[in-house]
């Protein structure tokens, strides 16, 4: 039992260390690749951006708009008792921008894009394609990891902003129709209480989450063992680990912002 637990903990430490090494190696290629005359290919960055970003727009839109709608109705239920229904507007906007939109968007992207990355790289690993890159002298971190990392790093914050907007739109729909708030007043209340720093804290989170998704899914993909079953396991692991790390780091970052009064 203790033996098993020890192995488990050592495994976690080892994996963390390897992911950190992958992180710095990827950063090395991104910032110093062109010095070695081996820059990260722009084509593949844009290809990944389209896949990770543009193709995720619709699902992010739907998830956040419904969250906005539900959030507005649930808070109105409470605020009605105090006769403060108008504050639905600011509450929806602030909770979305600071918390819900970054987290929900990254969870959706971890499920949609992270799993796809893990499955793709995992299949490449088990069908010897990664080994073929090695033998051709092509660095897999530069060729495969770096474009995905850059694409997610820039696209996830964009998706988060889109999530902010569509969430506020969801709240607006409920507020102006069923709660009978004047549309002009709704928008005014939203922006009266929503500060730029709320959006920035949300975006800071999404930058961190983007790195988590990219690194975890690439790591799991590149370390796939066995055949089809291994690819399935790698995909599951990438999603589960990304989810846990996203929520963990959400907690840490929120605490940092809260205690430093940001």
């Amino acid at each position: 039992m203790i033996n098993y637990l020890g192995k488990f903990i050592i495994g976690i430490f080892k994996e963390t260390l390897e992911i950190i090494i992958l992180f710095f190696n990827t950063l090395g290629w991104i910032f110093f690749g062109f010095l070695r005359r081996k820059p990260v290919k722009l084509e593949s960055i844009f290809y990944q951006m389209v896949f990770a970003g543009v193709r995720s727009v619709l699902i992010v839109f739907f998830i956040t708009i419904f969250t906005g709608i539900v959030l507005a109705m649930q808070t109105a239920y409470q605020l009605e008792k105090m006769g403060a229904v108008i504050y639905v507007a600011s509450l929806v906007a602030i909770s979305l921008c600071r918390e819900l939109s970054p987290v929900l968007t990254s969870l959706v992207v971890a499920g949609r894009v992270g799993s796809a990355i893990a499955a793709e790289l995992g299949t490449m690993k088990v069908s010897e394609q990664i080994e073929a890159l090695d033998i051709m002298g092509i660095d897999k971190n530069r060729f495969l990891v770096a474009p995905r990392f850059i694409a997610l790093f820039f696209m996830l914050p964009c998706l988060t902003i889109l999530g902010n907007l569509s969430g506020i739109l969801g709240g607006f729909i409920v507020g102006t129709t069923s709660l009978n708030i004047n549309p002009y007043l709704y928008i005014q209340t939203t922006f009266k209480y929503l500060k730029l720093k709320d959006i920035f804290t949300g975006l800071t989170k999404s930058f961190v989450f983007a790195m988590i998704i990219a690194l975890v899914s690439c790591f799991e993909g590149l370390n796939t063992k066995g055949g089809a079953e291994g690819v399935g396991k790698a995909t599951t692991r990438s999603v589960v680990i990304s989810f846990i790390l996203i929520l963990l780091f959400d907690c840490i970052i929120t605490a940092i912002f809260y205690f430093s009064k940001l």
């Binding site: 069908s127 394609q129 033998i135 051709m136 092509i138």
Partner: protein, 263 residues
């Protein structure tokens, strides 16, 4: 004339989970020859090939390729050395996301500064060498296994390597395509003086193409010789392997299931 040694393995051993997969193997491979390594599945021949390409590091011994010990090279130096390698994989290992043309172009685009027009010409040349002109824009999933192997070969020789490794080049192919691949290997070695290292258990192709043959069993090198020497060898392991007989010193039932006590 003294033959130039291109690949030299010295006392190479490799352990996997405490089991000796490669057991003290030493051999020399000369420039321009086709050197075949044969053995049963699980005998360690694929591991040996991966040790030669630097994918797997041996636990003991050294692997000297063109005068450099690749077990001691840094990652960058190893990648530099690998530019003079080509490898044909058992399942071709073409990148699924790229077309045939892009697959062959990949090493050229990554390692040279040639303009696109010249790369195009080289691709056409390499593809016509393997008889696949006109398939440039197909994806690997759209072509047959034999065609994939030939594209893999075109990719392996794209950078005009000195050494090409073949991992079971004819397995899973029909006899005619297998014969075509054999002929390609022989042509490359004869015309371009490429050193070829072939791993196979296809007996027909072994004796057709090889200049020298090494037989490996349970990680140990049993014998090295020319095809004639191997054919006339007295070693019972080799005779059993060549004839494909189930009875002999190589006993799968005893070794694999651990039934030694019962017999």
């Amino acid at each position: 004339m003294e033959k130039e040694v291109v690949i030299s393995l010295k006392n190479v051993s490799k352990y996997f989970e405490g089991r000796k997969t490669i057991d003290n193997v030493s051999l020399d491979i000369y420039r321009g020859e086709i050197f075949t390594i044969m053995g049963c599945s699980g005998s360690g021949k694929s591991t040996l090939l991966r040790i030669m390409t630097g994918i797997i590091k041996p636990d003991e011994g050294s692997v000297i390729i063109k005068g450099k010990d690749i077990t001691r090279l840094s990652y960058e130096e190893l990648n530099e050395t690998r530019k003079s390698f080509g490898m044909l994989f058992q399942y071709s290992a073409l990148l699924d996301s790229l077309t045939v043309k892009e697959n062959v172009a990949l090493p050229l685009k990554e390692h040279t500064k040639l303009p696109d027009q010249i790369i195009d010409i080289i691709i056409k040349l390499k593809l016509s060498l393997v008889g696949l002109r006109g398939f440039e824009n197909y994806y690997p999933s759209q072509i047959s296994g034999g065609m994939k192997k030939r594209v893999g070969l075109a990719r392996a020789i794209a950078l005009d390597p000195d050494i090409v490794f073949y991992d079971e080049p004819t397995s899973g192919l029909d006899p005619v395509v297998g014969g075509v691949i054999d002929k390609l290997i022989k042509d490359l070695s004869d015309k371009l003086l490429i050193t070829s290292v072939v791993i196979t258990h296809d007996m027909q192709s072994v004796f057709k193409i090889s200049d020298r043959i090494a037989m490996i069993h349970k990680g140990k090198l049993i014998e090295i010789g020319t095809p004639v020497e191997i054919k006339n060898s007295n070693n019972p392991y080799i005779q059993q392997f060549i004839n494909g007989s189930p009875n002999g010193p190589i006993d799968f039932f005893k070794e694999d299931i651990g039934l030694t006590d019962l017999y």
